[in-house]
């Protein structure tokens, strides 16, 4: 029985037609898998190309009210180098609270609008919260315009470039974390070379009314299959990428979450953002608990919430994301451990259903990322 209180993306009917198994997710009815199943969907994405409906995520424009650079303004809440973003360049960053904890992670792209307008994509479960924070803290200086009438598709995997460039050859020229305007099947879309699977690929922001036709066109390519939320999660886990609200939350700083790459070098020196003192202090002296990759021995997956024990059996932490990695060929996980146990190769234990299983602290990604970075 469909739950009428759930929102639907513009691709809902197409998911149902395609045999998608619809489940509630962040207030939306979303496909967790299609008839192919999570395992095959995951492997297909790594071998060819997977199409994901990520229209539930929040897309918005951010502009300044006084005509100044909106990136300079939002940098107060985000510790990455955003003001330096040139048109068509994007960056992964985090939205911080007063204590330097992470409210959400997001992508910020500089558009080609002369005012330096930013295009942001935030997590579905956090969009209302994120917009409220931006409004509360910066509402006197910026306007945030949610793009309710746009769908978002992700095309990910080694065939993604061939598939999308058959519709618009210029997308092949984009490097990882670059974006541009492209006409696909006669429709103006905003296309970035990005994603959250560890594979090369694109995200395509398309007007809602045109989304189903574009998805159908992409699916007509023999290399493209629909991929559901189940495989999306196993793909991002293997790629070592954090899931907001799970692998970090409002109590954890970017240092504890081990995403210090998102901290701009100059921004660290200038400490010109909210919560900078705590973050600076944690950069100097690691926080007590840090996020690490974990590889359990054997085949039993250590899922979210599984307790982590040291070699002596003392409970010291918890798994925040975990499962079976279809490409890795075994269980993988991420979780928080005391800094003394965070070195790669450290032997720890994961308490699966009360039984201790050996595990090793490991580098992430578990499966190499294959982004098309700019050749320098």
């Amino acid at each position: 029985m469909p739950d009428e209180s759930l929102m639907k993306t513009p691709l809902y009917d197409l998911h149902v037609e395609s045999g998608g198994k619809m489940v509630p997710f962040a207030g939306y009815s979303m496909p967790v898998q299609y008839p192919l199943g999570i395992m095959k969907e995951h492997l297909h994405t790594r071998e060819k190309a997977g199409l994901f409906d990520v229209s539930h995520m929040g897309q918005a424009y951010i502009r300044s009210k006084d005509g100044s650079d909106p990136a300079k303004i939002i940098e107060y809440l985000m510790p990455s180098a955003l003001a330096v973003l040139k048109p068509g360049k994007m960056r992964y960053t985090v939205l911080l609270n007063d204590d330097g904890g992470i409210e959400d992670d997001l992508m910020v792209t500089r558009t080609f609008e002369p005012e330096g307008t930013l295009y942001v994509v935030v997590n579905a479960a956090c969009k209302d919260k994120d917009y409220d924070i931006l409004e509360d803290k910066l509402g006197d200086r910026i306007t945030l315009e949610p793009l309710e009438e746009r769908a978002l598709l992700a095309l990910q995997g080694p065939s993604a470039e061939a598939v999308l460039s058959s519709l618009a050859p210029e997308v092949a020229e984009l490097s990882f974390m670059e974006a541009t305007m492209v006409t696909l099947e006669g429709v103006v879309c905003w296309v970035s070379r990005s994603g959250y699977t560890g594979e090369d690929g694109y995200e395509i922001s398309v007007p809602s009314d045109e989304a189903a036709a574009l998805a159908t066109r992409l699916l007509a390519h023999e290399d493209v299959e629909w991929i559901g939320l189940g495989a999306r999660d196993s793909l991002r886990l293997e790629a070592g990428l954090c899931l907001s609200g799970h692998d970090f939350d409002a109590g954890v700083s970017p240092v504890g979450a081990n995403i210090t790459f998102a901290l701009g070098k100059k921004r660290r020196e200038n400490k010109d953002f909210i919560g900078a003192d705590r973050i600076a202090s944690e950069l100097d002296h690691s926080p007590d608990m840090v996020r690490v990759g974990l590889v359990p021995a054997g085949r039993a997956p250590a899922r979210e919430g599984t307790e982590i024990a040291d070699a002596d059996g003392k409970i010291v932490g918890k798994v925040t994301s975990g499962g079976f990695g279809p490409t890795f060929g075994g269980p993988v996980a991420m979780g928080f451990v005391p800094k003394e146990l965070a070195a790669e190769g450290t032997k720890i234990q994961v308490m699966i259903r009360g039984k201790a299983h050996e595990a090793t602290v490991a580098a992430t990604p578990f499966v190499p990322q294959r982004y098309k970075r700019k050749q320098s």
């Binding site: 898998q33 095959k40 995951h42 189940g230 196993s234 085949r299 997956p301 079976f324 259903r353």
Partner: protein, 123 residues
């Protein structure tokens, strides 16, 4: 004689011992099985106890003792190839064999017709 439980297990009686596995409906609902945790041989269970765990990419699910009894054999093949649960749920993908405390208990389980009706009611 094969019987079924509401938890989508099949139970095949041979003498006073049953072989237990999960049904095709159950394996389809679980998806790709990646790990199976089996009980210790000679452990005793009451009907409804959690005996084994089957993990798919998606989630972990419990397998319950269909009746009172003692584990006499487990399917070691599932350790190396848990996908047998998907490819052959009612044959090579069996979980464990159990010596029943009371073979008459079988009468309380569903036959194939009743189980099919149970499944039809879920869809």
């Amino acid at each position: 004689m094969t019987k079924y439980t509401e938890d989508h297990e099949w139970i095949e009686l041979d003498g006073d011992t049953v072989t237990v596995g999960i049904t095709d409906y159950a394996q389809k609902a679980l998806g790709d099985v990646v790990f199976v945790e089996l009980p210790e041989v000679s452990a005793s269970y009451s009907a409804g106890d959690e005996v084994a765990v089957v993990e798919s990419v998606k989630a972990a699910s419990e397998v319950y003792a269909p009746l009172d009894g003692e584990i006499v054999e487990i399917n070691d093949a599932l350790e190396g190839d848990p996908s047998l649960v998907n490819s052959a749920p009612s044959s090579d993908g069996w979980f464990f064999k159990m010596k029943l405390a009371n073979a008459d208990d079988m009468a309380g389980l569903m036959d194939e017709e009743a189980y099919n009706a149970h499944v039809a009611g879920l869809e």
